[in-house]
Amino acid sequence: MPDSDEKWRLLRELTAAFGPSGQEDEVRRLIATTATARADEIREDTLGSLIVRRRPATGGGRRVMICAHMDEIGVMTTHIDEAGFLRFAPVGGFRTAQMEGQRLRFQSGLTAVLARQFLEPGQDKTENRRYYLDTGLGPEALAAQGIDVGAMAVFAAPLTETAATVSGKALDNRIGCFVLLEALRRVRSRHDLYFVFSAQEEVGLRGAKTAAFALEPDAAYIVDTTIADDIPRNPVATLRLGAGPAVKVMDRTIVVAPARRDAVAALAQSAGIPFQWEIIDRGGTDAGPVHLSRGGVATAGIAVPVRYIHSPAETAAKSDILQACDLLVRCLEADFPAESG
């Protein structure tokens, strides 16, 4: 295992990479480069997902899809006016009205501030159309940087660390990418493993759908982040930072088969890995389309709790991330994974 600085350097690079839904090329390149040494095969599919295959030393295992989405939320430029102010549409669950004053970044590195136009009394300030991006540049200078209608921007926020936590943009779901890459590095499995870094999750779980169709896996593990709700004055917090990875029970797109969920929990228990159950009524994940692919796929989910999800300061516990890696490796090294139930 590389030393601690080295490990968090990878997460820092993953979160820094530019990758809004549909324009994931930069993060895809970074993941491909990182995965190369341990990959038997790497390819990109039509929707832009990256598929990294790790064959078993001997035959006889099952075909397992391990999926983490690599895209992040952001905005897409829809109009540039004569002063260079940009109008935009949200890409995925980007809550414009709550992001006033935030700094965003284009792929070229150019930053912009998200600002609100002058409003007459009574005008609704929650509407996306009241907001714009200001880069400081006029239309010609923007064009020279390749920023035109269709260009996307993401939060500009470098990863910060404490001894126990990390915080920054796109932890949803570069944490999942990190967990997959770490598992790829460590795992000794008798199964035929397909690590899928899926595209376009945030806009409708799209990349995982087509990847699952193409791979026809016997079993699937989805690694994503989930909503930590251990915040002040919440009497009913269910997902906490530092309490271990979450084992998916249900989200808006899947009810995990009890046998799959319990098998993951049993592996965690036997390895002394703490875990919590993930039950959320908001938000879907790639687990939805994957478990419904073709004739159905036995699917389980592992999630890392994150506070302030879909913000520039998504915050997670380092221990949860590392334990998610441990748990995923255990799952992939277990004998079973194909039995549905």
Partner: protein, 350 residues
């Protein structure tokens, strides 16, 4: 052809009349229309020269045949027809408008005369379940002789020339796409071309979902009609598209993020051909591209559309010049994709 198609009735789920006209035209141009179980009509044109490297490229072009309309849900004792909307029908456009059933039976959407409305009623539009269709029947029995529950009512045909450069009609969304697709299929192309006229787009991209299970292609071009918003006092950034601004290239909608390299290829093509091009501002709505992109192992999609005012009403308005430029752009785009034609590398577009 567009006039002919616009005048036909084909509410989502009951596209038969439109399908028959399209199939007849396909036979006239020497193609063999196939119909799948959903009712999608598919026609294939083989490459002009099978030895051309471009002959290995397979493009799928889609336009949907269905339009929005009304489904009869009940017949009242008085002989009025209650209905549910089929697809995105704005109730504001319904009152006192003419509709027809079975292609010829006239009806009008009933509304209380302004004299009889209470002051508060004048301020507020009734909910859609308060509307009804009047076909002139004397009572339920009389109405039942002419209409069954489950029949569909279509907006009355309104085709006409409009101003010097425009035309008006119902169902331009997406009979315009159907008409253009027929024009494209009537010509030879270096690549293999499949034209699909889909059903039930307006109620959830349903025809396209089934189509995608049987047709694979290296590239999909969806031909649509899209909303123009160039009304008075619209801020420039809020005009989704404008009439006369040229064909529209989609960037993102509720169903798809269009691949940037394809959007750039369209942009380059328009520039080279001297065709004005506009991007669709705003990301609401979806079309068959969404279903096609995520079907099976995925397809590469681009949507090129005709801007259209008052879409989903009886009186949609579009521009002849935009239509001509739309056609020019798509023909040039096909030719350029063929010229570039080495088929995509293995593992892509499977």
């Amino acid at each position: 052809m567009l006039e002919k198609l616009s005048r036909l009735d084909g509410v989502a789920g009951q596209e038969k009349a439109v399908g028959e006209a399209i199939a007849a035209r396909l036979r006239e141009i020497g193609l063999i229309p196939e119909t799948d179980r959903m009712g999608n009509i598919i026609a294939r044109r083989e490459p002009a020269d099978p030895t051309d490297p471009a002959a290995a490229v397979h493009m799928l072009l889609c336009a949907h045949m269905d339009e929005v309309g009304l489904l009869i849900t009940d017949i009242t004792a008085e002989g009025f027809l209650k209905f549910s909307p089929v697809g995105g029908v704005d109730r504001a456009v319904l009152p006192a408008k003419r509709v027809r059933l079975h292609g010829s039976l006239p009806g009008v959407v009933g509304i209380k005369a302004i004299h009889l409305q209470k002051p508060e009623e004048r301020k507020k539009l009734p909910e859609i379940d308060a509307f009804y269709i009047d076909i002139g029947a004397t009572n339920r029995e009389d109405a039942e002789k002419q209409v069954k529950i489950g029949d569909m009512a279509c907006f009355e045909d309104s085709w006409r020339e409009f101003g010097s450069e425009l035309f008006m009609g119902k169902a331009l969304d997406d009979r315009a796409g159907c008409a253009l697709l027929l024009e494209i299929l009537a010509r030879d192309h270096p690549c293999r071309l499949t034209g699909a006229f889909t059903v039930q787009e307006e109620i959830g991209l349903r025809g396209a979902q089934v189509l995608a299970n049987s047709v694979r292609a290296d590239l999909v071009v969806v031909l649509e009609a899209t909303a123009a918003l160039d009304a008075p006092e619209t801020e420039p950034e809020e005009t989704v598209t404008v009439l006369g601004g040229g064909p529209v290239c989609y960037l993102m909608d509720a169903g798809a993020v269009y691949p940037r390299e394809l959007v750039r290829a369209v942009t380059d093509c328009a520039r080279t051909e001297g065709v004005p091009l506009q991007y669709r501002r705003g990301a609401a709505g979806g079309n068959d591209a969404g279903a096609l992109q995520t079907a099976g192992a995925g397809l590469r999609v681009v949507t090129l559309a005709l801007p259209c005012r008052y879409i989903h009403t009886m009186h949609s308005v579009a521009s002849r010049e935009d239509y001509r430029n739309w056609k020019k752009l798509i023909l040039a785009f096909i030719a350029r994709q063929c010229a570039a034609a080495t088929p995509p590398p293995p593992g892509k577009g499977a």
